[in-house]
């Protein structure tokens, strides 16, 4: 089977043509780097994404701190992770890179802060 994908790993956004049979990848064409081949395989077998959101902050100079995951998670788990993120509230100060939820939903990735929020 043939499938055309857009690699989302970097802004080059290479158009990939994947030839596969069930779960066996026969060829990937169009990738400018080897990450594209890995992406195509992952995308056919079990698509993964990183997500970003924000978490409420109490006692900080801003009401929110932006967060992201340390690495991609299976696409079908995105809304489970979002539910955990949404339930969270943290107290200022928050540092860039601070782990706010370790091993979120047991998926092996952490939710980390991407901004510094000082105390008022």
């Amino acid at each position: 089977m043939n499938k055309t994908l857009t690699c989302v790993i970097c802004p080059n956004g290479c158009q990939l043509t994947v030839d596969y049979e069930g779960v066996t990848i026969q060829s990937v064409e169009g990738a400018l780097c080897s990450k594209g081949n890995q992406y195509a395989e992952q995308e056919i077998l079990d698509p993964k994404r990183n997500i970003a959101s924000s978490v409420r902050v109490t006692g900080g100079k801003a009401p929110l701190v932006s967060v992201r995951l340390t690495g991609p998670i299976p696409k079908k788990k995105i809304f489970d992770v979002m539910a955990e993120i949404r339930a969270l509230s943290v107290a200022a100060p928050v540092e860039i890179g601070q782990v706010l939820i370790a091993d979120v939903s047991g998926l092996g990735q952490d939710v980390i802060a991407t901004k510094r929020i000082d105390r008022i």
């Binding site: 924000s54 932006s66 979002m82």
Partner: protein, 414 residues
């Protein structure tokens, strides 16, 4: 009021201003002042919380605030002087800069001024949709600021007009926060955002994209209740009997960005009608001596990585400019192929390495883009597909360039 003299004044503390400041300091320029309107440095990136920035520079996929923080840290560690909560209200051709803050009015005179004010969003006025003016209509950038900086959820069900990247990113953001995004409607027959954003912001969440469609009416008195969408013909005219009503409480406009030009115009800087930003040479110097520009104020970028690089090239030239009054080679035009929307720079002096940035007008398959001078071809790049959403860069080393001879950027179909 006393006038303070400065070597370099940078207007705007976003990625362009920060990168220019850091690079100038590295060259040994001491007297630099950044003036920023907001309370924090970082520009628009403070609200771009998704990841994917900085892969080329930092070898990591960072979010916007993290990318900005790296530059803010560099600027602070270098001890570069910064004033925030201060708005530049006047700029004159003699490089007098007038700025206003709560603490008063300041007047500066600089040897070099760097324009780094970013861009603004086109609004409903710029595209004209008939109908009432209910609440619930936002530009994508404003929606992003509400949700990501202020913790204000803007609505429960949304329609997005225009397929610009910020609109696509907001479609995903709203969906993740539990809102339903009915669809993205684009008047052009192709999307204006990057393919990777179509994949990861729309396709991932089954949000439909309707090409050659536009919003022809909006409904609701106090709050938006819905929109009418029509298909358009090749001249963008709505096709009768294709109207469809969509129920929604929020309409997000992602219909384009334009450089922030008020100060440039005030100083008498010539603008390019294609980029809508200043016309510059390869030193990023505008038509007014000593006034330079980079980043979104010059031409709208989709990737901050390119903004940083552009500002660093600018800094190189500003450094030279401060050392010696430039023995100007005469500037000659860069002629853009009719398939190209524009080129930056628009002029060349051929006295430094050259980077030309450009965009195609429409999607093209299998093309070669080359830079020619006389019958000499300096560089060629081949593209399987070139699209308006992606900025293209071509570089030519100084040694190859002939001063005084116009350059041509040529698109050939293979």
């Amino acid at each position: 009021m006393t006038t303070q003299n400065r070597s370099v004044i940078i207007i705007g503390g976003g990625p362009a201003g920060l990168a220019a400041a850091a690079a100038l300091r590295q060259q040994g320029v001491e007297d630099i002042l950044i003036l920023e309107r907001e309370h924090d440095l970082g520009g628009i990136l403070r609200q771009c919380i998704h990841d994917g920035f900085g892969l080329t520079r930092f070898k990591e996929a960072l979010s916007g605030p993290e990318y900005a923080a790296r530059f803010v840290d560099t600027v602070q560690q270098a001890g570069i002087e910064v004033m925030t909560d201060i708005t530049v209200t006047e700029l004159h051709a003699d490089r007098t800069v007038v700025a206003t803050a709560r603490s008063g009015r300041y007047v500066f005179k600089a040897q070099a001024v760097i324009l780094a004010m970013g861009c603004r969003e086109r609004t409903r006025g710029a595209i004209q949709i008939p109908g009432s003016r209910p609440a619930g209509v936002y530009t994508a950038g404003i929606a992003q600021a509400y949700m990501n900086l202020k913790n204000i959820m803007i609505g429960r069900s949304a329609v997005i007009l225009g397929s610009g990247d910020i609109g696509l990113i907001m479609a995903r953001r709203l969906t993740l926060e539990g809102a339903s995004v009915k669809g993205v409607f684009e008047i052009q027959p192709y999307p204006s955002g990057l393919p990777r954003n179509i994949t990861q912001c729309l396709d991932d969440y089954d949000i439909p994209l309707f090409l050659s469609h536009t919003v022809t009416a909006i409904h609701g008195t106090k709050r938006l209740t819905g929109v009418t969408v029509s298909q358009v013909d090749s001249s963008f005219r709505p096709i009768p009997d294709t109207e469809k009503e969509w129920t929604c409480d929020t309409l997000i406009l992602s219909v384009g960005l334009i450089p922030e030009n008020e100060l440039s115009k005030m100083a008498g800087v010539l603008l390019d009608p294609r980029t809508k930003g200043p016309r510059v040479d390869e030193h990023y110097q505008t038509s007014v001596a000593g006034i330079f520009a980079a980043g979104n104020v010059l031409h709208v970028h989709d990737l901050v990585d390119f903004v940083s690089l552009e500002a660093e090239r600018l800094a190189e030239s500003v450094g030279d400019y401060l050392k010696q009054a430039p023995a100007d080679e005469e500037a000659v035009p860069v002629e853009a192929d009719p398939e190209l929307a524009y080129t930056v720079p628009q002029l060349v002096r051929a006295d430094r390495d050259l980077t030309v940035s450009c965009r195609v007008r429409r999607p093209l398959n299998r093309v070669r883009i080359s830079i020619w001078q006389n019958d000499q071809k300096h560089v060629t790049r081949r593209f399987r597909r070139a699209i308006p959403a992606e900025m293209i860069h071509l570089t030519v080393p100084k040694e190859k360039l002939v001063p005084g001879e116009p350059l041509k950027v040529v698109v050939e179909h293979e």
